[in-house]
Each structure stands twice: as structure tokens, then as C-alpha cells.
Subunit: 269 residues, 2 copies
DNA sequence: CATTCAATG
DNA sequence: CATTTAATG
């Protein structure tokens, strides 16, 4: 294979997604790595063909709380190592972070907490952000020492810039587009700070979106009133190898098996 | 009209029933009085055509607890009076009993609590039974003094005899067929005690069933593994006027808009 | 196995 | 507006 293809999608409940069309999508993907978020199930609650699809190695990081969060990684080849959670006790068993080592690459599935202004859930989101940025820096350092690139895929629950959501003016005081959240993501992407690259934006610097999430309310999907909150965030030399990126809006169009669409990127090896 | 037809059905959530075929059934019924149980909604939560179907006078007795219990009466003519609850403070606002006066008749919709052996819910069921039998006696006396018959329709959550459920042996220790529950219903029907008559059984003394409830689990409906727990219980001289009784199994067959079927009886006037 | 609800998203 | 769970049935 000349390319490594990675796709990431928030499935909004893998049991529901599987009832509505997730498996045909998975059967059709050419990706080598699939990152899932909001699995909202333990492996034992899933039908076998969903839990362990043929041809994939699967790792789950479910949340302690039943029916909440949960991330997973599907890889065509067996990872050399997998690690659940990151360097933070509070979020260790929250089903929000899972990473796997493949040759020359550490790939992660991330589900950053969603917040709501003025509630404890926003405080939790901010605690996660505060702990996660130093971890990303640490991860990049460790990976570099081992000659590994890093790719953190998932639902970051933050739109970075005005081009990343349809109604940015109306959302300046809503969680997901707050100044402090945007600044935090800016730090992740600052070469002098986090040092990572937003792969899709690097390939499409002048595009609106492409959005990856549309509310189920109203006609958000039909009107493309969406947000770009699902990212592939890579070390710069990996990001430089990205040759194609797209959001599979059609994959969730007819069937609508999630309110998010897969974000797919191909990297030269 | 030469006859008065009364039908009673536990709808297991009127909102769900209305999504699945309750309204066509209502449009087709020839009944003069419809008794509903397990409405599980307040009037304001119902679509107008469900809450106030044309041609009917409707009275609701919702439970205080949202989404629980709830009984209603639909009558072609306006009742002379309606009363919510019976002579017991604990169950006044529990959405389990509603009665209406029509000329010569007091008709009631009853949803007796369902229990589970060894739980507080069984205790509650027994408290209801203990309070309700004296009320029935009192009601019969008052009605007689006014020249009124009494008809209490609804889900009594008790199968009286072995012929009233498919698997009576296996259910002798389950709520709904406990010896003390059967004995209590026996007292309701004892001429020297409650003094009421089980109208459907009086018309069909030698029949198995007819069952009026089938669990959604397994193939209970297809195998007719049911219970007769929905009754029309009448003062004897009204019961003597019953000319036809049947359980509308077909009404909930194709569509299955409830796990109970309507119990319909026609009385000579 | 179905209906509600509440919390989450 | 959709997904879960929990309690209820």
C-alpha cells in the first residue's frame, strides 16, 4: 500500500448506528484505521458482527458510566501497543481517550467532553482541556524520541475559527465556540506551543467547513448548518504527508446513522 | 338505541397507541362508553385529535407522577357528574380511578396497581385492594338508593381463576395470580360480600379466557399465552342485561397498538 | 419487550 | 431531536 488512510467518526451510540447503516459503511471504507467516538456501549452489549467485524483488530475504551461516551480504534493490523486514558486520573475511565502504536505512528481516538455554559459540564470540559494540552506536548516529545508521528483523531467539541461553523456570530457565547475554547485549540495548533497541525484545514485553507456535525434539530443537515468539530490533529511532518481529506457527508445522508459524518484523510507512507 | 355498549382497554401509553392505530380503532367502535387505562399522559401532552376526538365527551384522571398510570372515560353523551379517585387519600391523585354518572348508571374506569412479589409495589397493590373493596360496597349502596346500576371497567391486574390465564400453575406465586389476590377478587364477586358480577365470565362460564393481555415478551400473543385481567364488573341486575361480550383481539393484532385488547360488552337498556 | 422519563448531547 | 438508562409494566 502506498497510502495510510485514517477515518474518524462520532457514531452517537454504536448500537443505534448499527441498526441504521454503520456496518455497510464500514464494509465499504478503504481506511486502514477507524477511530470511533460515543460508542455508548460495552463490547458485551454489541452484536458480535458489530463488536468484532471481520478483518479488523478492535480496541474499546468504554466509560465507567453506562451508556456514556466510549471510544474505540479499529485497525487492519494488530497494534504494537494500546493505552487507555491519558495522564490524568479524573478522565482515566471516562471513555474519552485511547491510543495505539502502529509502525512509525501513534494514533488516538479522542472524545473531548461537550459543555454547556454555566454548568458543571463546562467546568469538566475545561478541566479536560487543561490536562490534555500538556499531555499532547508530552506525547509529541515521547513519540519523536521513538521516531513516531502522532495523529489524534476525534470529536474535539470545539470549532476553531469562524469558517468552522455556519452561524459563528450567534454562537460566540455558546460552548464549542467560546473565546477560551478557541484560544485553547489555537495553542494546540501553535508551532511554538502544542505544535500540532489541523490536517483538513491545512489541505483546505480557504474553505467554509467542511462541517462534520449537524444537529438533529430543525433542518440543520439539509441546510448544511453545521460545525467542524471533528479533527485529525497531526505532528507537522505527518500532516505534510496528507494528500487527500474529505468529510463523508453522503455516508450519513440517506440513512443518517449518526449526527456526525466521518472525517477521512489519506497520508503518503 | 336499544343497547348500551361499553368497551374498556389498557392502552399502555396513549401517545404510543395513537402512533400505532388507536384512532382508527376508536373511529370504528360502536361503543357508547370507552374506558381507558394507562393513558400515561396529561391532556396537554396529547395531539388534539387524540385528546378530544370529535363526537366524544372526555374526562381525564391523570396521575400526579408524570408518565404513569392515568385513566380516562369517553362518553357519547355528557355525563351528569364525574368524580376522580375514590374514598382513599393515598390513591386520590394516582390516576387509577374515575367514575361518571350517566342516566341510570355509574360507570368507572379502574387501573388497579400492578405488583411484584416481595416489593413495595406489591404492598401498594394490597393497600389499594384493602381500600377499594369497602368503597365498592359503599358505591353499590349509594347507587341503589339513587336507582343506579354500577359498572366498574378496567385493568384489575388479577386473574380470578385457573381458566383466566394460560399458565396458571407456573404463576401461583406471581403477582396477579396470588391466592390472596384471587380471594380478594372472589370477595368482590361474592353475592354475600361485594355483590358484583364478572360480566364476561357470566356470559361465557365454560370458556378458557378470553384473555385480554399478552406480554410483549417472546411469542405470547401469537401463542395466545395470555391473562384475563381486564374486567367489566357490574351490579347483578345490570350484568343480567348483558347480551354480548367479546375481547377484540383482532383490534390489536395487525398493528398491536397495546399489549391489552379491548373488552366490549353490550347491555340491553 | 414495550412505554415512559431524565440526563446527555 | 436523538441516544442512552431507569423504573414501570
Amino acid at each position: 500500500m502506498q497510502q495510510l488512510t485514517v477515518t474518524s467518526v462520532n457514531v452517537n451510540g454504536l448500537r443505534a448506528a448499527a441498526r441504521k447503516g454503520y456496518l455497510p459503511w464500514l464494509a465499504g471504507t478503504t481506511a486502514d484505521v477507524v477511530c470511533l467516538q460515543e460508542v455508548r456501549a460495552e463490547e458485551a452489549q454489541l452484536p458480535a458482527e458489530v463488536a468484532r467485524p471481520a478483518g479488523w483488530h478492535v480496541t474499546y475504551a468504554p466509560a465507567e458510566a453506562k451508556g456514556r461516551a466510549g471510544v474505540a480504534l479499529l485497525t487492519r493490523r494488530e497494534p504494537d501497543a494500546v493505552r487507555i486514558g491519558f495522564d490524568c486520573a479524573e478522565f482515566k475511565a471516562s471513555g474519552r481517550y485511547l491510543e495505539a502504536d502502529l509502525p512509525g505512528l501513534t494514533v488516538a481516538s479522542l472524545y473531548l467532553p461537550s459543555g454547556e455554559v454555566g454548568t458543571e459540564r463546562q467546568d469538566e470540559k475545561e478541566r479536560f482541556m487543561a490536562a490534555f494540552l500538556p499531555y499532547l506536548v508530552d506525547l509529541r516529545g515521547r513519540a519523536a524520541a521513538e521516531g513516531r508521528e502522532v495523529l489524534v483523531c476525534g470529536d474535539w467539541n470545539i470549532a476553531h475559527r469562524e469558517a468552522d461553523l455556519r452561524n459563528w456570530r450567534a454562537n460566540r457565547t455558546n460552548s464549542g465556540f467560546l473565546p477560551e475554547e478557541r484560544a485553547w485549540l489555537g495553542r494546540v495548533l501553535d508551532p511554538a506551543d502544542g505544535g500540532y497541525t489541523d490536517v483538513v484545514r491545512a489541505l483546505h485553507p480557504d474553505q467554509e467547513g467542511p462541517y462534520s456535525w449537524w444537529s438533529y434539530r430543525g433542518r440543520a443537515f439539509d441546510n448544511d448548518t453545521g460545525w467542524r468539530i471533528d479533527y485529525q490533529i497531526a505532528t507537522p511532518s505527518l500532516a505534510a504527508r496528507a494528500v487527500k481529506a474529505h468529510v463523508e457527508r453522503a455516508a450519513t445522508h440517506a440513512e443518517r446513522w449518526s449526527d456526525h459524518a466521518p472525517v477521512t484523510v489519506s497520508y503518503e507512507r
